[in-house]
């Protein structure tokens, strides 16, 4: 018996030691060099002379990208790029969160694992501020005719290419949220296209009574993540809300606009497809394409899903409208060259290739283009999200906050939104909690100091 106890205790000690390893395995990290704080003037960048073009044949590039169809298309077309330039490229694709982690750990530890990285554009406030990516202003200026810089929408140049006035990346996989609705139901019932969220509420209630439970009035992405946050921002923008005061950086989730937005979203839950509060990207578009909802605020990639005869039950029955209230959440990706890349010239060739006018034209209708000539081309009028996106850019888009803790803020917003739509907290309680969280974050990142 004593021996058995001894063996047991030894086993436990071994298990316990191993379990403690789990906790601290990720504890180590490279010491961060001192940098300018966010919201303060950008550090002066050293002018990087634009090098002469050189023979890049045989160079190998590693690229990290988001795991979606536009990026798969780049991978499929790589043999053409290799034949043209002699540069061999490997594209690794990851999910949203994994891509961020992969890029951040590689950049922070200066592994040089990737020559080119794709980032959600608000993360430029992290990667570019920290010097993790290369300032490409000189190359952009040198090759502006070749890349037809003027054709890239100025709004996208500001949001997806520049950080504090300098060029760091190129926009690809851009887009905004748009308002999808069932054209057939609207025509049948004589509904006007809604211009406010109150209109949406009225129509949703009516549809619910007339077509429910098979077709509900509304569907939305309510999951406690960035999609829940993106959905709520459409409402917040409509009521004149802002993430934070642009001058003082004071969070603005304790305002009547934020509260009204959350209340309206919550009011829509009872007319929504039942699972909406836990829907992410996939579930939401599937619900709409199966004809289970009459209205859906969704990313403009919905065009592809709803037009696909293999998966859509609503072909010819849907259309898009400007987001009720006039402001739509704006997202998208920026592709940049890692500061640790040993082959930045080859990486720049790759960047030019993925945003070339020819490539943008070939990839229609995967996602809206960054190019004005394509967004406004009459040939592409059959893709409603193209004109829709152009209107968003020309109007008043609601971009994700381009500040260092943007990831944390969006996650917390998604959590607060989800707590409301799943009935765990009232809109007021959730927003009070969120405001408190944001104030701590803004303080921690030296973005805002409360007045004494």
């Amino acid at each position: 018996m004593k021996k058995l106890k001894l063996v047991c205790i030894l086993c436990l000690t071994a298990v316990f030691t191993l379990s403690s390893l789990f906790l601290f395995a990720g504890g180590g990290g490279k010491e961060q060099p001192a940098q300018e704080k966010e919201a303060k003037p950008a550090p002066e960048k050293k002018e990087q002379p634009a090098p002469e073009k050189k023979d890049l044949r045989g160079v190998q590039l590693h690229v990290s990208m988001i795991d979606e169809e536009r990026e798969w298309a780049f991978r499929d077309l790589l043999p053409e790029f290799e034949a043209k330039t002699g540069i061999k490229v490997t594209i690794d694709t990851y999910g949203f969160e994994d891509l961020f982690k992969k890029n951040l750990t590689a950049a922070a530890a200066h592994t040089g694992e990737y020559d080119v990285i794709q980032m959600h554009f608000p993360d430029m406030a992290l990667f570019d501020a920290r010097g993790y990516c290369r300032d490409i202003t000189d190359w952009v200026m040198r090759d502006k005719d070749e890349i037809k810089l003027d054709d890239i929408h100025p709004s996208l140049q500001e949001s997806h290419m520049k950080y504090k006035g300098r060029y760091y990346g190129v926009p690809t996989h851009v887009g905004s949220m748009t308002f999808y609705y069932r054209k057939d139901i609207f025509e049948e019932q004589g509904y006007q296209v809604p211009t406010t969220w109150e209109d949406v509420l009225k129509i949703a209630k009516d549809v619910d009574q007339k077509y429910g439970p098979d077709t509900r009035g509304f569907a939305f992405m309510g999951r406690a993540d960035i999609q829940g946050a993106a959905t709520y921002l459409n409402f917040m923008g409509a009521y004149g809300g802002e993430f934070y005061d642009p001058n003082s950086y004071r969070p603005m989730f304790d305002t009547p606009a934020a509260l009204k937005a959350m209340q309206t979203l919550n009011d829509l839950v009872k007319y929504s497809v039942e699972g909406s509060p836990s829907y992410g990207f996939d579930e939401a578009h599937v619900a709409f394409q199966q004809g289970r909802a009459a209205m859906l605020p969704f990313w403009d990639s919905g065009d592809g899903f709803f037009s696909d005869p293999k998966q859509s039950d609503i072909i010819g029955k849907w259309w898009v409208a400007p987001m009720p209230g006039g402001r739509a959440t704006n997202g998208g990706w920026s592709v940049q060259i890692s500061a640790d890349s040993a082959n930045p010239e080859a990486a720049w060739e790759f960047l030019k290739w993925i945003i070339s006018p020819e490539m943008e034209r070939r990839l229609v209708p995967m996602k809206p283009s960054c190019r004005i000539s394509i967004l406004t081309d009459p040939e592409f009028k059959k893709y409603p999200s193209y004109q829709g996106f152009y209107n968003v850019l020309a109007g008043n888009p609601f971009p994700f906050p381009k500040i260092l803790p943007n990831w944390q803020m969006l996650q917390l917003l998604g959590q607060a939104e989800n707590q409301v739509v799943t009935g765990q907290k009232s809109p007021k309680e959730a927003l009070d909690w969120l405001q408190g969280q944001y104030e701590v974050i803004m303080l921690r990142y030296n973005l805002w100091t409360p007045k004494k």
């Binding site: 106890k5 316990f16 030691t17 504890g27 993540d225 959590q415 799943t422 921690r444």
Partner: protein, 306 residues
């Protein structure tokens, strides 16, 4: 002279040589364990000290520099409602899944102790869930509880029950993540306890039977007491392991709805990497470790008293 000298030398050697040998042997011993010690120091001790030092600073990824702030991160954790909530759910999760797994595992072990057709096949099938990685377990059960085409709800509807949207409500979501863990780890209890049952002293059980003890009495007064050290060890291993559960919950609910299924390990991870608050995550890791040490020590003491 020479002999004497030789004798003298011999006499010196007979006294000194074993001491020198001892010293050399000791040095050799240390030399042999030195590589292991260096690896141990580099892989365990250094990260421990490094993360402890970070937990006493305001180090944040993406922010310049860092400064010493003492125990501020620990104080913040004690005041942090999300920390309390995730700790509470971690304890609830560990206790619930371990209890159910023990119960189901013991029943399964008792069944497997008997002889029946297909026993070997069932034993092999039982091992399968343990061989699946937690991420895959998460995906499997996410599909089982998916809002629109939930397999569970499909089965319930065949008997006329309309199932809930499992991952959308507080207690159904908590139940769902526990079910996934129970499915994966009940076989672990079953196999270990089966090993214990098969090694019980047959004479004691036989004599109890001769004395007229029922099967239930034999189980309660003979089998369970003899197996108690083994049961406690399995409970302890699973308690520690389930307290660290991360992957399946991350996949199934990502801590939602809201944050009601957010376990402490998920909250620590989220604070550390996506939220870049590394020092706070390190402080919470240490609190996590202290909680584990207390729980383990209590159970080990109980084990020593048997």
């Amino acid at each position: 002279m020479v002999k004497e000298l030789q004798y003298g030398q011999m006499s010196i050697f007979t006294v000194k040589k074993p001491q020198l040998r001892k010293v050399t042997a000791k040095v050799k011993t240390y030399l042999f364990i030195l590589p292991a010690m260096v690896i141990l120091l580099a892989l365990i001790i250094y990260p421990l000290i490094f993360s402890l030092s970070k937990s006493l600073t305001d180090f944040t990824l993406g922010m310049p520099g860092e400064k010493f702030i003492g125990f501020q991160n620990y104080i913040t954790a004690f005041k942090d409602q999300t920390f309390h909530q995730s700790l509470g759910f971690s304890i609830l999760f560990s206790v619930c899944v371990t209890s159910v797994e023990l119960l189901l595992g013991f029943v399964t072990a008792l069944l497997l102790q008997r002889k029946f057709i297909g026993k070997r096949l069932i034993t092999i099938l039982l091992i399968l869930p343990m061989m699946v990685t937690p991420v895959v377990v998460g995906i499997i059960w996410l599909l089982m509880f998916q809002p629109d085409f939930s397999v569970i709800n499909g089965l319930l509807s065949t008997i006329g029950i309309k199932g809930p949207i499992w991952l959308q409500h507080k207690w159904t979501a908590r139940f769902a993540v526990m079910v996934a863990d129970i499915w994966q780890w009940t076989p672990f209890f079953a196999l270990i306890l089966l090993g214990g049952l098969l090694n019980l002293p047959i004479e004691v059980i036989e004599s109890a039977k001769v004395d007229g003890a029922s099967n239930l009495q034999i189980l309660r007064y003979i089998k369970i007491p003899i197996m108690m050290p083994l049961i406690l060890v399995v409970i302890l291993i699973r308690l520690i392991d389930s307290f660290k559960t991360f992957d399946s919950i991350f996949i199934m609910t990502n801590g939602g709805p809201g944050n009601v299924t957010e376990v402490l390990s998920l909250y620590i991870y989220r604070s550390g990497l996506p939220f870049m608050n590394v020092s706070y995550a390190a402080a919470m890791s240490y609190l996590f470790l202290i909680i584990l040490i207390i729980a383990t020590t209590l159970l080990i003491r109980r084990l020593q008293r048997i």
